[in-house]
Assembly symmetry: C2
Homo-oligomer: 255 residues x 2
Amino acid sequence: MGKRRARARGADKAGEASLLAAYDPSAFERPSLTVDVALISVVGDQLGTLLLRREAHPYAGLAALPGGFVAMAESLDAAAERVLRDKAGIEGVFLEQLYTFGAPERDPRTRVVSVAYYALVDGRAFAAIDTGGPAIDARLDVPWEGETGGPVDAIDPDGLPLELAFDHADILGTAVKRIRGKLDYTPIGFQLLPDRFTLRQLQVVHEVVLGRPLNKDSFRRRMLASGQLEATGERQAEVDHRPAALYRFGRRSAV
Amino acid sequence: MGKRRARARGADKAGEASLLAAYDPSAFERPSLTVDVALISVVGDQLGTLLLRREAHPYAGLAALPGGFVAMAESLDAAAERVLRDKAGIEGVFLEQLYTFGAPERDPRTRVVSVAYYALVDGRAFAAIDTGGPAIDARLDVPWEGETGGPVDAIDPDGLPLELAFDHADILGTAVKRIRGKLDYTPIGFQLLPDRFTLRQLQVVHEVVLGRPLNKDSFRRRMLASGQLEATGERQAEVDHRPAALYRFGRRSAV
DNA sequence: AGGGTTCGATGCGCTCTGCATCTATGCTTT
DNA sequence: AAAGCATAGATGCAGAGCGCATCGAACCCT
């Protein structure tokens, strides 16, 4: 099957090579390349995300993920970091490539391929983001269970649904699906909490991300047995019940 | 933190929007966009992959993944399918986006961002690929355990090491890591086998992918309990021992 | 006919999870 | 000051899944 096929197309390959050798930036039309960042947080018992109100067409007035063009001498990771810094004022948080969205008609103006990233911040840092400008402190509603996947709904602080520009509802959905999948076997949950936290707070984070309640005892056992938690010796203060022990994320992996 | 930052950068955003509104394809330098496909198979007790001997510079003479430029009106998935069809003569196989590689210096000629895909084919279809032209029927040696990650080594049919062009050793390593991770909770293993197969063959595929031996009995129990296997009623023929039952991958998910 | 090899089933002990119970410790109320 | 209340945190137990060992079954070869 396919015999001689590669040989028959050999001309294509040589053609590509020579074309690149005589490289001319304006010789070929090529897609625009952007990065979009899905900034995810856990606020109370809901997922939070940062959206920007679009001022220009297309999709003027709709909500969109922070994004921007990739510069010629800039790595994709660096572009995502820059977008997060310039448009959300956030630095030094967990940031990882998610998926690349490249449907030909995803941007009505021209061909735009977007490398999507997702970032994780704890609730306090998320609440500190300035929402005076175009930034919207949104909540996410995930209309599917488990790791089914699909677009998610965004809701503004008043509980009203937000319409999302481009395929950004799909990007956010992909981010939620990815985080759900990685939660069990990577230390991703700690990124959504401050330095010190209680086991209960860690459980709430897991429950919000997964969208389902977890058994308290087995969750405690599993986390303590994982060797990722470091007891600080401190306890909660100013709570109207027995204070819980505060833990820290211990980088030492289980040996 | 970051207060007024988004507002202060508002000019950037408006600038981008107006630039795009007055879109001119040659106005801005932008990266080239390609797809590269890591075609993975299980051949005997090793991982197999398809590489092409490069004829042109850079890296002339070295081995590289099949790849090509993304056309303006073509989705990323379609580009990967086209590359697989034109350069390997393969169609209709499992194909999924892997990761996007965009380090500024990954191609010495100019900025090239590559959306990597991985494809899975069964051993028979892999062996049927024509290797008369630039195609090399290579084996993979994974120098790390579990899902540590990192580049992998390619070996030619004579057992000699192959030097890989660009960052293609990293792409192949990322593919192996991804497949290892997905093997346990997705029906990915069946893509590496023909329509009918024995439980033993399925186990060998899992062992080769994971790079470690598996317990025979618990593997059998787990697979049979998963509800993904459909007994064909047929048995192996022409083997010098008790023939094993042949199964088929049953799409009906466990209810 | 007998040996060799692999298939495929069964039984046992260990671990992990879910569920229930019980005690501990802070704040608040009477 | 004593009692009440809410949550933290430990312990016990049943069921499921996994690793390991044993044993019979079925085919080919000599």
